[in-house]
Amino acid sequence: MTLTILRRVLAAVGVLLLISLFTFLIFFWLSPDPAVQICGKTCTPERIDQIRTQLGLNLPFWEQYWQFLSGIFTGRTYGEGAAAIDCAAPCLGFSFQTNESVTDMIVARMPVSVTLAIGAALLWLLAGIGGGLLSAVKQGTGWDRGVMMTALAGISLPNYFVALLLQYLLVVQLRWLPFPQSVTFAEDPLLWFQSYLMPWLVLAFGYAAMYSRIVRTNVIDTLGQNFMRTARAKGLDGPIVLRRHALRPSLTPVVTLFGMDFAGLLGGALITETVFGLNGVGKLTADSIAKNDQPVIMGVTLLAAALVVVANMLVDVAYTYLDPRVRVKSA
């Protein structure tokens, strides 16, 4: 058991290292010279050299990579003397466009993304699992067809389109909601709720659609298995069979998926945040792409990758507790 967990943790660390290496490689090889960008139009070759030295861009690839990696754990200093810039650990890089450390920029935007992710997750778990169960239990009826049609629409509608549609209908046409604004819960609870309602719904719709399709398939699969027949033969009635025997095996795959999806959202809901103007990590990424602020893009990519990998690992470990069959197989 401990060995299994240890192996999973090591594998996750390996994947993280590989991801950081690939990300670094991409920006090292493919992107235009950041020194030229920082230098601007009135640039002399001496100034470029100076910036390169300051950023450590004159060093070979492995040394730069090592500086970046160690910066995450111990922090690092760009340049020397009076012009030196300190970047405290965990240092994910430094944006010379905004003169801020990438870590600070991300931390400042995190609360919005977390709020968005939690609210949407609650909604989509409820709707996705509820819809999927309803559909499976009432298989072949109008309920089933209705839920599955909605789900099909949900996975086919791009979320930016739903976002625009909803915003146009509810805000511009019907005027039921105000324009979403960046307020905290403490400042104005009602406006806060109204501002997050549409983003929550839009995000949740897509995921709920996907989850209900999976839950339906899994429940129908489970209901057809032998242990279900045994449970019914023992004289247990429908709802109990469903709750005690069908739900757990049907929902374990959902746990894996949920771990990854939720972690992915913590790294920023790029599209939803952009459309609704929510100042989260996703908006930060989108803005940085528009401004070509590479240290930020790289930092966010790494963070998002790390979140997903860690979530994946946690889910795998949780599995060994949730599903006894996994334990047996790995032993």
Binding site: V15, P158, L257, G267, I271, A305
Partner: protein
């Protein structure tokens, strides 16, 4: 997020689609069954329509008299910040689906050219990932051992990757240039494991079936067994996987273009049109509604077709 290809992984669990040993479902029976479903008929009609729109985009451009890059200042009201003149985003005999606010480009013609770009990218990526995925999946499943170990590890790594974020990072770092080709490349790199995984699983179960044993006993070489015995039995699965891959790539491409890292202006693409429309949605909703509807209908139709193909190919196997 519905634009991530990883969704495909969930939709295409090998569950069910297991043609273990039975004869491949005759194409005629599949078509007969599918024709009875109104949803499928409508979907196929929509797909055919979109494909025709894409193929004949230049003809359409000649008929309407507007190229995809032609500005029409007479169709927009420069006093009102450039919103289209006339109701519903400037729909008129001149511009059948209205014009883009700000510059007056014809929406219908741009949607048609956008369909070209979208379909070209999605179909190319599907061809590449399907071919590569089937080859890799068959090698891993058929030969097992070291080959399987290596291929499976690479697939695990690629699938553990948060692919959308990485695609964005990669595309934003890459210099401009042939954007559609880059998109195909990036989609393919992250897309093939989803095909390969399913193919690998099915190849493994086919490898132990009686007819493969028989072929092996009669002295057939491994390559011949793979192509003559195993591959024909994977046909149904490959068709279903490819049909479902197309909408997922269309969606991903549109999402990437929406975020500004996909197809670059002035080349028209649906995602990019909707992205431009964000600034105009309150005054000119038709500008996001029209490309959005085309995008939705295309993805929806391919998904309905893929879902039904899977159902029918399953049932066909179960029945025989």
């Amino acid at each position: 997020m519905s634009t991530v290809p990883s969704e495909l992984a969930v939709e295409t669990e090998p569950k069910g689609v297991l043609p273990t040993g039975s004869a491949p479902t005759p194409a005629r029976r599949v078509i007969t069954t599918l024709r009875k479903s109104p949803a499928v008929v409508v979907s196929v009609c929509i797909i055919v329509f979109i494909v025709l729109l894409a193929v004949f985009a230049p003809v359409l451009s000649a008929i309407t008299g507007w190229g995809p890059y032609d500005y029409d200042p007479s169709a927009i009201d420069s006093d009102l910040g450039g919103i289209p003149i006339g109701p519903l985003g400037g729909i008129s005999a001149e511009h059948w689906l209205g014009v883009e606010p700000g510059n007056g480009r014809d929406i219908l013609v741009r949607v048609a050219y956008g369909a070209r770009v979208s379909l070209m990218i999605a179909v190319s990526a599907t061809l590449i990932t399907t071919t590569f995925g089937v080859i890799m999946g068959m090698i891993a499943g058929f030969f097992g051992g070291l080959a399987d170990q290596v291929i499976s590890r690479v697939m695990d790594f690629l699938m553990a990757f948060p692919s959308l974020i990485f695609m964005i990072a990669l595309l934003s770092a890459l210099p401009a240039g042939n954007r559609p080709a880059l998109l195909v490349l990036v989609l393919s790199i992250f897309g093939w494991p989803y095909t390969a995984r399913v193919i690998r699983g099915q190849t493994m179960s086919l490898r132990n079936s009686e007819f493969v044993e028989a072929a092996r006993a009669s002295g057939a070489r491994p390559l011949k067994i793979a192509f003559r015995e195993v591959l024909p039995n994977l046909r149904g699965t490959i068709i279903v996987l490819a049909t479902l891959a197309v909408p997922s790539y269309i969606g991903t491409e549109a999402g990437l273009s929406f975020l500004g890292v996909g197809v670059m202006p002035p080349t028209p693409s649906w995602g990019q049109m909707i992205s431009t429309a964000v600034g105009w949605y309150a005054v000119d909703p038709m500008f996001f509604l029209i490309p959005g509807t085309f995008l939705f209908l295309t993805v929806f139709s391919f998904t309905v077709l893929g879902d039904n193909l899977r159902r029918v190919l399953d049932a066909g196997d179960a029945a025989s």
